[in-house]
Amino acid sequence: MSLEQALRQGFFTTRLEALARWAMSNSVFPMPMGLACCAIEMMAMAGPRYDVARFGSEVFRFSPRQSDCMIVAGWCTYKMAHAIRRIWDQMPEPKWCIAMGACASTGGMHRCYGVVQGADQFLPVDVYVPGCPPRPDAVLHAILEIQRKIRERTEPVFAFPEKE
């Protein structure tokens, strides 16, 4: 049951929803799953030149409970996949996932026995970033895509459980 139905009003709550979505989209806290080389470029993105703070995502939260968007940066091995999946499960809804770089998207150049051929085999990936490693601006673009996704959500932001 959404706020809309609870208050039985249209205009005000839709505005409120839009405002909330705008606020959410500009405060995407990344969960940096830095595995390999891409993690270095991800750090560079947080660094002084590319400065992801301009888009409200400078708060790299190393605790999954405080983040909304997991950036899988680097190749996922079978051994690590379970740990990544665990962390993904610990993230609160709503959550998004960026597969950064060729390895996280498809397995990339590491076509061998240890590497999962793409993080989307065990994670619902929203944005794929090509490149090996992608330049920090490409990752910024991915975060902007996530923001667009958030702004275009159809799910109500304020949803309350039905009363018994």
Binding site: K79, P94, R111, Y113, Q121, P124
Partner: protein
């Protein structure tokens, strides 16, 4: 101190223990009898100053007699020498004496050789796999292991439902 001194010393200490000596590309390789490797290392460390173990590599000599080869890379810091030792073992029973009692840092290198090639090291204090999980049953660097692995040998977590957006 030169390689000639080292080889002469080893031949004096282990008559018949050295199977082959190769000198190429400015490197010296000595193939020793497998059961002697620990004693050879002990002598090299205590009497000839080879005090630093750099690396242990396991090699699969597929289709050859004595299929597996273990290559030790030793350095004598004081003399500026780098020596390569080799031992070989059969496929049916790939066991090599561990040199961890002599060089403690051989520990992980030998574990790596066990994990990747399946060579067992007798007398190793802690022979576990190092890269792959214990639950894995193969040795990937053997030539018969396919590059893309064996499907299902390493389980993946389930893919979750896409969250409601």
């Amino acid at each position: 101190m030169t390689f000639d001194d080292v080889i002469a010393h080893l031949e004096a200490r282990f008559p018949g223990g050295i199977r082959e000596i190769r000198r190429a590309l400015g490197e010296t390789t000595i193939l020793v009898r497998t059961e002697l490797i620990r004693d050879v290392c002990r002598v090299l460390k205590a009497e000839l100053g080879f005090n630093y173990l750099v690396d242990i590599a396991a090699v699969d000599r597929f289709t050859e007699q004595e299929r597996f080869e273990v290559v030790y890379n030793l350095v004598a810091l004081a003399h500026g020498l780098r020596l390569r030792l080799k031992v070989r073992c059969e496929e049916s029973d790939p066991v090599v004496p561990s040199i961890t009692p002599v060089y403690p840092n051989a520990n992980w290198h030998e574990r790596e050789a066990w994990d990747m090639m399946g060579i067992r090291f007798a007398g190793h204090p802690d022979l576990r796999r190092i890269y792959l999980p214990e639950d894995f049953r193969y040795h990937p660097l053997r030539k018969e292991f396919p590059l893309l692995g064996i499907p299902g040998s390493l389980p993946l977590p389930e893919k979750p439902e896409s969250p409601a957006r």
